[in-house]
Structures are given as C-alpha cells and as structure tokens.
Symmetry: D4
Subunit: 244 residues, 8 copies
C-alpha cells in the first residue's frame, strides 16, 4: 500500500465521506508492513549497520561485475569479498582497490576513520582471513592496525605488540591450528576480543573446527567467536563495537 | 498502542483539529505491531494449527499441574507430553486420560474425528514414541489407527497391514535401530509418509542419529522426517495433512 | 508362475483329474509373488505416486539420453534431475524444457494443475534446490508458486509473502546456513511445512548438517524435514500432500 | 627476585662497587618477570576486566564457602556461578543474593550502573543461562534489562521488544533448539549482538551444538558467539562492550 | 484367509458351482500372505536360523519372566540376554543357567554340539561380550571354546593359542580400546574371523567407535565386523557359519 | 638364521664337538623366527587364505604393471583391484580380463568353482562394489551368482530372487543410501549374510557411514558388516565361508 | 614344550639314535614360543618398562584388594589407579599411600629417584590427571616436580616456572578446555613435552576432544600427545624418556 | 629499548645524576621484553630445539625458493617439507638433496650423527610420512634407521626387526588403516615409542582419525602420539628424545 492510499482514507474522514469506525477498520486491516517496514527499509543501512556487500563466491564473474557497477552508480561505494583478480579487472572502476591475499575489492570508503581496531594473526597462512577483516572494518569506517605472524610458538613476539593492544578499542585475533592465540592475547588485556578460527591445519584441525572449539573454550572469559574463516563477520562486529 | 489512541487520531481529523499530513505522520510512526500483530494474536490457534500444549519435561510437577488446571478452566482441554503418573494424580481432573507408555495426558479432545491416520511402529521399544504421536493427533481431532511391532525382521507382518495403509490418508512410521521400516512401507504406497526415528538401539545407533540419517536417505522419494523421538511433532504434522 | 499354470490347476480340479487336497497343496506352495506382486507391478505408478524419474548424476551422458528417449517413446513424459546442458542438447526432443539453475529437464507434464504449492527460498544460492522442488512438483501435476531470496536477515520481506502463504495448501521452505527460515515461516501459518536444508554455507555449516539439525529442532511443531539439497524429494512430498 | 635485590645492584653502582658493564650483565640476566609481571599482577583487575569469580561446579561446597568468605573479607565483593542453595546457606553473609534459576550468588556489586545491556531469551528453559549473563554483567557494573520467552515460534512477541532493543547498547540473545533467535533479532538492529546457544533440545540438538553452529552461520553478519550455556562469558563480553 | 476358504473355492470348481475364470479371479485377489507367508511363519526357525530370544534390557523384570515361562512351556528352551540375577531368581525354572558376567540365561540347548567355534577376547573387561557370544552360539547348538585375556600388549600369549585357532572352524575376536586383536589373529589364520568391538576404553575410544572403525579398516582382508558390544550377534553369525 | 646353521649345530653334537648343554644354549638363543616364522612364510597362501592381490589405487601405473607381470611369471595368476583401463592395456597379458565397472583385472582363476555365493546389490550405482566382490570371490575359486538393482523401493523384485537365495551358501548384500536391503534380505533367510555399505548417497549419507551404521544396527541378528565400498573384503570373506 | 624335551632330542643326536635330518625336522616344528617367548616372559619388566599395574575402574573392590595383596606378597610393590578410598581401607597394608585427588595407591617405589620430570597443570580441575602422572612416574623410579594451576589466562605465572622447566629432562603439561598450555610451554623450551588433554570443560570441549585436537595441532613441533585424562600413560612415557 | 638506554640509566646512577629510587622506577617500567626476550631470541635454536624449517605447502614456489636461498646464505642449512620437484629445481643449490616420496629438501645437516632412531612403517603408502620423519631427524643431527612395509597382516616380518628395535634409543612407528602396529611394536620393547597415524585408508578410516584414536587407546601404556601424517613432528620429537 502506498502513501497515497492512506492519505485518501484520512481525506475521506476529513471530508466526512468515511466514518471513524469504517476508517479504523480499513486501517486495521492494512498490511502492517506498508506502514512500518517500508520506512525501515529506507533506513536499512542504519538498521543493520552493514551496507550491502557482494559475496562473490559461487556467483558468475559477469554477474558480480554487473551488481557492483550498479551499486557503484547509486552510492559510489561497495565491498566485494571472495573476489578474483578477473572480477577486479572486469570492473574497470578507477580507484577500486584489490586486496590479493583475501580477494577483497573495495571502493568509496570514508576517509575519516573512527576509533581503533587491532587485528592480530598467528601464521602467514592466516593472513587472508585477517586481511578480509581489516578491509571490511576499514570500508565501514573504522581505523585498523594489522600485525601479522604473531604465533604462540614465538610467544615473545606477542609481547612486542602490547603497546598496540593498549591503544586499540577492540582486538581481532585470527588463528588456525590449535587456536591458542586469542587466549594468550586475552590474558594480557581487558579489551573486547573477537576470535576468528581459520581452516589452516591438517589432520585433527578438522578444517578449523578444532581452533573454533578451542576459542569457544578459552579460559579467558568473554571472548567473542566467529565462524571458521569468517574475516568479513569479524570486521563487521569489530566495527560495530569500535563505533560505540 | 491501544485502539482508542488510533480512534482519537481519526476523530481529530474528522473534527478538523488535525491535518491529514499531521495525522499521516502520526500513523506512520505507530509501531506496526499495534495494527497487525495484535490481531494475529487473536487467531493464534488458527495461525499455527496447534493449540497450547504443555511440555512437562524439565518443569516442576506442581508447575505443570497449575498450568494445566488454568488452561482447563479457560478452554476445557489440554495435552501434556512427557508427564509422570504423579502429575496425572495431582491434576484431579475427571475424564483426563493418562497414557503410561508415552507419559501423555489428554482431556477435551473433539469427539468427531476427521480423516484417518495410520501409525506403524517397528519394535516394542518404539511404542512410547508411536503412542505420543497417536495421542497428539487424536487430541487435535484426527482419527488414528495404530499398529505396533511391525519390524523389518518380520517383514511378512508388514504385508498384513496393507489394508490399513490403503484406507489411511497419511502414514506415520516409527522405528529405531537401522530405521529401515519407512522405506519398506514407502515401497508399498503413494500416501504421504512421516518417518520418526527413535533413540532405540546401541553402539552405532548413535542415540537415534543412524535411524534419522537412514530415513533422510530413503530410496523412496518424499518421506517427511522428524527429529529423534519426536512423536509429538509427527502427530502435529500428520494432523495438519490429515485435515487438508 | 504365469497365469496359465494356475488356470491349469483349476482346470484339473474341474475335470476331476486333481483332488481338492492335491490342488490346495500345489497352490499353497506357489511362490506368492506370482499371485500378488505381479499385479502390484501393474499399478506401480499408483502405488508409489512418483512415475519413473531419471537421476542423471553419476550416469554417462549418452546413457541418460538413451533412457530418456526410450521413456519418452513409451509415455511421452519424463523428468531428469541433476542433468547437464549437454544432456539436454543430446536429447533433441522438441518441447523438452531445461532449467539451468537446478539442471532439471522436463517434458509431458499435465497442463491441468491441481492445488497450490508455495516454494520459498532464503538466499540466491538456495535457488537450484528450490527450482528442483518446483519443477518436480509441477511435473507431477501440482500448481506451484515460487518466491526466492526471502532471508531471515531481511525478515520484513517475509511479511510481503504472507498472502502467498495464505493461498497455498502446503509450503516448501528451502534454506542453508543457519536454516532458520522454516521456523519463521512456520510461526505465521498452520499449513504443512516442508523444510529443505541446503549445503550452502561454510565452516560450521558442515555441508548442510547444521541447517538440517536446526530444522529438525524447530520450536514450531510438526515441520517435515528432507535430506540436504533434496529438492526432488520435497517436490514429491509437496505434491503428495497437495493432491489430498 | 624482590625489589631489594635490584636496589642493591643500583646501590653498588652508585657506590662504585660495581661497574656499569657488570651491573648491566646482572640486570640483563634477571628473570624479566621480576620487573614487569609483578607489576602487572598488581593491576590484574584492570588487565583482564573481570575480577576473580568463583566457579562452584566440581568444587566441594565447604571449599567454595571458604574461598568466598576470604574473598569477601579482602574486597567486600564476589560472584559465585553454578552454586547450590546449600552453598548460599553456608555463606551466612548478609546482603548476598542468591539467584535460584542459574545458581548464581552475588554481593558487592556497584550501585552506579553504566550503559544498558538487553538480554533476550527464547524459551523458559533458556532462563538459567540468561539469568547468569544478567547477574554477571550487573555484578561487573552494567545496567541490564532482561526479556524472557521471546521465541521464534511466537515471532510477533519479538516485535514488542523493539523499543528495548533500540535503547540498548549491546544485546545478548540466548536460545536453544534451532538457535534462530539471534538471526531474527539481528535483522532488526545494528547493535552488537552476543549469541549464547543453550543445551536445550533433544535428538539432533546434539547438546547445543546445533544451536551453536546455527548461530555461527547466521546470515546476519558479525554476531558474536559464545560456548554452549556460557551465560557467564556472555555477561563478561556484554559488560566489556557496554563500558566502551 | 484361512485354509478352509481356499478349499471352499476349490470345492466350488470341482462341483461346477464356480467357473475357472471366476475362481482364478478370486484366488488372484487373495491377499498373497495367506498363501505364502503363513507357511513361512510355520518355519520361522529355519528361515532366520535364530529361534526367538528375549532381550531383557528395557523390559520390566516381571514381563521378562512371564515371556520366558510361556516360551519354556511351548518349546522347553529359551535364551535371555542382558538379564539381571533378579530375573533369573524369578524364573524358578530348574536347570536354567545364569551367566553372571554377561547376564545371559539359557535353558534347553541341544546336548549334541556341532563344529567348533573359538572365542578370543582381549582384556578382562571384554569378557561379558565374549561370554554372551559363547552362550548364544552354544545355545544354538555349536561347540564353543573360549580363551580370555589375550591382549596385543602381551602378544606372545596369542602365540600360545595358535593350536586352538587351527582346530576351530570360525574365530570370534572380542576387543575394546584400539581394537587391534582381530588384525593380529587374522594374520595367523585363513579361517573366517568375526570381530566384535567393545565399548571398553575412555577418551578417544568414543564408546567403542574407535575399535569398530579399526576393525573395519583391518589390513587383513575379509574380517566380519559386528556392532559395538554385540556378543549376541557374533554368536548368531558364528553359529550360522559353523553349521555350514 | 638359515637352515644350514642349525644343521651345523646338530652336526657338531653328532660328531661330539659340541656338548648337549652348549648346543641347547645355542639353540635357545636363536631368534625364534628362524625356526618357526620362516616356515610359516612358506605357507603364506594357506595361512591367510588370500593369495597376493595388487591394490592399484595410489600406485603408479607402470609399477602396477611391473608387479603384476612378475607375479604372473611366478604363479600364472593375479588379481588387481581399483585398476584403470590404462593399466590393463599396459599389461599385454593374453586372457587377462578387465571388469570396467569396478576396475578389476583378473587372470588365472581356477576353472573348477566351489560352492555358491549370491551377490545382491540395491541400485545401479552400487554395481562397482558388487562386481569387485564377485570378481574377487570368483578369482579365489568360488562360484558366484550376481543379481543387481534389487532396491527396497521396489521390494517385490526382492521376492523374485528368493530362489537364488535358497540355493546359495552365503549371501553378499551391497547397498548405499539408507542401507536397508541387508535387513530385508536377512528377514527371508538363515544363510550367513555379508553386508557391504557403499558411499552412494548425499547429504546425511555421510559418505556411506549411515548405510554402515544402519547395517551394524540391523534388527536381523548376526549380519557380517564390511567397511564402506569394500567389495574386495566381502569377496574374501564370502569365499572363506563358502569353502567351509 | 619344556627344556627337557629339547635336551632329549639333542641327546638322541649325540647318542646316534636320531639323524641330523630327523632332529632338524623335529626342532623345526617345535612351537617357536617354547624357545623364545618363554624366555621373553621372564624379562617382562624389562621388555615393556612398566611392571604390572592394577586398573581399578570397573573391577569389584574386593577383587582389586585381592590382586593387590597377592602382588604385594610376590614383589612388595604395586600401583593401583582409579581406586577408591574404600579399596585403600580394605588393603590394610602398612606404608601404602593413597592419593585422593587421582585415586591412586602406591607402595614399594624405589627410594633412589632418577632424572627429573616436571609436571605442569593448567587449572585446579586438572590436578587429578596431573597427580596420576606424578605418582606413576615416581612409582617407576623417576624424580618428579609438580606445579599446578598455571593457566594461559594467567600467563605471567608460567614465566615463574621457567627455572623448573630448565632443570627438567622432560615436561608433562596437563590441560583441559582449549588445551593451549602445551603450546605456550613448548614455546619456551626445547625439552621433550608430553601433553595430556583432560575432559575438563563443557559444551564444545566435547569431553576433552577439543583439548586433544588442539594439542595435536600445536604450532610447536614435536609435542607428544596422550589420550584424554591419561595421566598414567603420561607418567609411563615421561619415565621412559627420563631414564634414557 | 636498546642496550644503550639501560647503560645510560646505569651511568646516570654512577655519575650521581640519578638517585637509586628514580633509577629503580625507570627500570621497573621498562618493557620487560627488552631485558629478557631479546636475549632469548638470540638463543632461539637452543630454546625450541628446531631451527627454522620451511613448510612449502600453500606457499608460492618462488617464495619458498627465495626464503630457502636467504636462509642458506645465513646459515648454510635448511629443511623444506611438502616441497615439489619444481621447488628443488628452482633452488639450484649444489648438494641440496630432494626426497621424492615425502617431498622434503635438505641441506647442511651435521655429518656427525648422534644416538639411534628406528623408524618403522606399516604399508608402502605410509612411506612418505615415514621418510619425512627420517629426513627431519637426520637433518637435526640424529642417526636414523628406517624399515618400511612391516604390516600387522604380515606380523612375522615384525619379528625380523627385533634386533633393530633393541639397538634403537627411540622408535617411530608410522601406520594408517587400523593403526595397530604401534601396539604390536610396543608389546616387544620398553623403548619410548612415537606413533604417527597416516591418512591411508578409506571409509571408516576417516582420513586417519581411526588410526589416531586407535593409537591413543593403545593397551600398551605410554605411547606418544602425533597428528595425522605429521612425519615432521615425529622427527622433531624423536630427535629431542634421542639427544637426551
């Protein structure tokens, strides 16, 4: 139901063509979504905090390019995750940036960054997931610092980054294999920690389930855990917390 | 927001105290649920097809008795699942029936039964789940026929019940262990079949997961599968289909 | 044993060549299947409700084409699931329709559609499974309406389709990831709901097991659940219920 | 190494008894923890954000009482989780509060509450976990609002609490069975959401794993997930975010 | 349909009251089970090789006693598995034997034993399962030799029993934990080997799944594997093979 | 230690160069395997019942060809499983037979077949596993009858093969998906049954684990179960039983 | 075969009653175990390194007491694991020591301890497993130092024990929940590390599987992992390494 | 903080410019890692026992070559695991050795080997993992003996290698499928045993999990278990133990 139909009903009351009882019945039976959800839709960005993002995996390359271009036309910004270099080349949009480790493409992010998110990852193989989190949070408007390759096996390196932890508002920790890094980082700070397990490992890493379960069982209380390899989700959550 | 507030707005338009524009803005910002969901609530029974049922497991006996009595007062009917004999004794409601295998208590079911549901179970240990399905469907108003102990190991018994299958509108098949019975029943009829795995078995029965997975993989196409031991759910679904 | 042999026995009684005792012994030892199962075979379509369908996966393309052609010759109709475009091109049967999302090929479906099945799917990646269900049910003779891309994350869209739900006899809900959509749809209607989990997702989606388990655990009672990605089974069941 | 030993080394330099080279070598070989970690210990509360809490499960009742009393003596405050009524009775500490659903005992929480945490739970059986989260966050100094029994099966109830969502800084959503509630809540707000799966359910709920996996797979991006039944962890994380 | 009805039809042909055509139609539509399955039932023992056995677990003690007595009356023999001493005491049947490790009760087994079954078990905790296999096979009429406590950790003991292996027709090997014994026994003989995993073990023994999977993966080809703790099944299979 | 060394010791006793005591000590410390295991090796075929077979999977094609040729030279017979057509072409051994469904190559099997093994498989996709079992048992010297495509969904077909079951000594049943066929076959006979689950199926078939678990949980007692897709093992076991 | 029989054969050669050929054949067919395994048995302690230990779990208390007394009589020493206080009280053996956390009873251990094993455990709930490892290794003759309650959440505590690590020959690390402690300890030393996961934790700790898998996936190379809660095994392995 | 800054502080004390109190405060607040961890870094080889090793899997070939060359320049030695022949060809470093089964490249290992490690593997398919363990331990400076293809199915072969076991200090046992070999080897020796499960097998081998779990459940106490296919880890641990 469009706005005009409601105005018509109200006009009919005003003009006396419609009794209050009859108008009430008409309004009562209006599909509620015309009144409220339409409006909500208008503020979709605000309601969910994450503007439309394109998940390229499983989509045809030409489709991703078309969606991205249309989105760019409307709002001059978009974020594509799990994208190939071929998609990037097909976009032909100046200033769009391609991040090859994670396969993320970003354009139009706000230049004025808010807060401070620290993203720490354990091994070189965890970098794609960490990068996806970093690009996502940055795209959404957060300031991000990334420190890669801080494994538990080289625990002294972790000590080096204590200063960065202290100046961050929220810390994202990305780790595969035994997934111990969030516990170790968490033992050194009272900042909210977002743990992202990766599928890095073999045998009993079970495609990342072991790291995931280890993080959910951390003896440091209150660590937020994401799905395996979900750098995008970690970036979203970190941003939501960072802008509080 | 109650009805009177909407009527006030409409009255103000009628009386000229409020412009259409202003009234529209007011109505537009009404929480939609006042207009639509309240109404929906009024028809809750119709909307979900299953009147309020009391799940006794994990609740204190005196609480179950209190809820049941209050419900009986309002509507003269209720169904309690996973109930103990002690709850039944505590109810002291004449004509309430206790089904000891499944621990179900029922009162107030419609005397005029519709359609015809056949409930078949494989072994004696599967009877509690089959009985819960039967009592539930009967309570909701369906006619139910039950045939117990029709295992695959005694496959010729299954042939005996072919007549019952033919006169049913929908067939519920309850089985544990290898969960093969729904496939066998399904090979003999084109009626909708609802398969309920039970947790009966040991070792690799995995608490019913094996029967569940076997039923989901049936080579007979289109078998509806329920959660393990979910006789109540099977009774609900069978009834919904039976009254079509 | 063919019919003639039984007739011979009966003829020998009539003519007095065989005593009743001897005839009874002969009949008693006849393999029962000669008497009953042969007859049953004749009504195979009626007995199982689903005419022969070709499952192309794992079969050689030329074999599928040959089977389909032979079936077409006999009955002017067939349904091929999990088929490639190459198979379709090889068929060279006019009026056969190829559905590229699901890889289904259909010909000869009845023009007079019965009832009304609504098929709702959550994300764009779930469309292949939803389409397979739709094509199957339509091939079997059911009227089908499909609404795609109604995710929980955009729950207001779901409200838009309430009218479609109300006019359907049975609703098929296809969803991957957390598999929440059937619960949400089920909270709005008392129609039978068939839930189909898809393998869409990553990490803890466990190839669709999470969506499957979530659907089996729905707090809406009586949802019928199918195997992961089993659009064909959902179409069969929906049709069986729809024609009741 | 205690402070006095370092002072002795420094004194020896001052007095000329020790060359800078020798002193440097001595200091260099000091166990670093004497210098830094001791200090850190002093600020343990600040470092991890969660003052010492007593986890009663698996401990003998008299031990829990002794630890709690000693802690109360030192700091006038403590939080005991998974405690029995018997422990509470044994404490004999005036003003200590016992929360029977979750078995939590709390005393000494700050009267001046900060921020606003909303805790929503799906079914009555999920209340113990929700209560543990609420008591924990409140003990740590956060203002908490709790709304229980907002299931997906009664989705319209969820709409009623939209105002509470809007006035919260962070939302904790507690749900068992299919674990769909966080997705539904998440579709209505851009606040950080903390999802807590509970072990409520049977069969394929797999002791809460299904709800956990469903939450990790939510189509709403950026939901923070906790271990099964981990109300305490959710309270900690919600507080950490709430005080940002 | 009873025999008399068929005889009536045949009599009507003989007397000329019924044409062959009409008789054929009548017979054709007889439920086939009257002709064939009834007969089969009469030979149930022969058809499945295992006379009726009572599985006591999950049944009430008085029910087991009643069933056993009735069975004893008819055939002077029965086997009860998973029985308690209380059931045995309640039976009050002279000569019935109670085997306390496995909780098996047996009476009426044939005195003339056939063939030779060797039952080997790995640890003392595996004896209940081995005993159930031994009592079952003996009850069915097989000669059984049992050697207990032949673990892989004491592999030289295995060598001692080589003579017993050589004189057996089939070997049952019962083992928990890592389930390696069937492979080791299998490396020494070409007799059929039946492997029975037990639930003995902890941690990654996963209730016997590890032993089961190890046995299914034996590098000795052609080992027959039973469900976890299924001594009864092993006894049945060993007997079936032993009497060939 | 070779035979000559033992003969030398014995010769030294005879000639008086060695006392009995000294000879005993020498013999006592001989590695036992020289005395016994060497001999055993000589009878390897008899000891394990299965002459050397070549498992081609994971081996380089030229290696398989070389091993097979060398084996053929020595004994004029071999069996290769999981072989490609390319291996077969490379062999260039006249009379070697290639079975394309299962990828088995066989030569030199005994012409005089013993006993009678029936191999039944459920669906067309199960044929490769059934064929591997058939070729293996035949190669080892057993007479084999194979009946393919006897699914539970077409349960009447099973009745047709009852005569074949009756004339077999042991029955191998191959089935994927829900794995119900062995239970159904087992309900009709008292012959030993060997059940082979296949990896055919999708979703909750879990790569054959569901069929495997269903077979292990069969309500027909005493079914021998093999690893998933293990046609070779089934052929070995069937042969071992068949030649008893 | 006893020694005398071999001596007889040798004597017959010497006396000329037996040819070398005949004697060789006789000796060749001797069961090898008479020659070698008997001897091996005599050195059982040396061969396996772990003298007979009594595992009390699942055994009747009076049986454990009887076995222990008999063992004490023969060798004045024994170790009982998983024992109750009641068993200890029943023993009535002076100087036997009962360790209540782990339920271990020990007597007769060597006073002269060798080497140095460090046992570190993460939380108070892990102490039973750590104690079992300590008592076992000490019983076998190793010097053991134990440091309990060194969690990752209090990682600075770990630094305090660095000196103990440096003076140990092998380190046992016991931890439940996320199982991260072995990685952290391993990052600080090049000593062999034995990791023991415990079943401490809830939800996704999966009864210790998560800690086990995390330890097997440690990014510190070469950590030896034991079964869940296997303190006894860890004590055995630590001792074997410690005495090298 | 570099050394000079500490020297400055000490110099200021010496010269009287800084009081002891002030100097103490300055030193106390120094980031501890400057004092201790830097030093530790210098001894990284000693601390973890395993010099930097390159894990090639998942890295680009040119990157591996670059890292290896740079490492070779500095220390004249490196070890690359999971490398391709192409990487080896790209290195162009004389004397570097390529091990094709495991894909390991090694150069610069010490010529003076210590101790004695025995590596035993079960089947030909387990050789790659065994070779990786052998090359790793040898690279680290251990003497290694390898015996391949000692399966349980040919258990007499195992006896042949008893002498090698006796002369080893530690034994590595590599096995897939049912993983029984470590138990069998362990029953013959009291040396520390390191068990490495491999992913060899199919069906219920579950990618090596079954062999892993079997090894963790060995009835031989104190077997050290590694992750699936982790030959590198086994080589590291064997070396650490071997050099004690």
């Amino acid at each position: 139901m469009d706005e005009s139909r409601i105005r018509n009903i109200l006009g009919s009351i005003q003009s006396g063509r419609l009794s209050i009882d009859a108008a009430f019945r008409k309004l009562r039976h209006l599909p509620y979504e015309d009144l409220s959800f339409a409006k909500v839709d208008h503020h979709r960005h605000i309601r969910q905090g994450i503007p439309e993002v394109i998940y390229a995996e499983g989509k045809r390359e030409e489709d991703v390019v078309a969606i991205a271009r249309s989105m760019y036309k409307k709002s001059k910004k978009f974020l594509i995750t799990k994208a190939s270099k071929k998609i990037y080349d097909g976009l032909k949009i100046k200033n769009a940036v391609f991040f090859p480790s994670s396969g993320t493409i970003s354009i139009g992010e706000d230049k004025k960054k808010k807060g401070n998110i620290l993203i720490v990852s354990a091994g070189t193989s965890d970098i794609p997931v960490a990068e996806e989190a970093a690009v996502t949070a940055s795209f959404l408007g957060s300031k991000v610092e990334s420190i890669y390759d801080v494994g538990v096996a080289g625990i002294h390196r972790l000590m080096d980054i204590r200063k960065s932890i202290d100046s961050a508002k929220v810390v994202v920790v990305v780790a595969g294999m035994e997934g111990a890094l969030p516990s170790v980082v968490g033992s050194l700070t009272d900042k909210p920690i977002i743990a992202v397990p990766t599928s890095i490992g073999y045998g009993t890493s079970l495609g990342g389930l072991t790291a995931l379960f280890a993080m959910l069982n951390s003896c440091v209380p209150g660590i937020a855990v994401m799905n395996i390899d979900n750098g995008f989700g970690a970036g979203c959550l970190a941003h939501k917390i960072n802008i509080l």
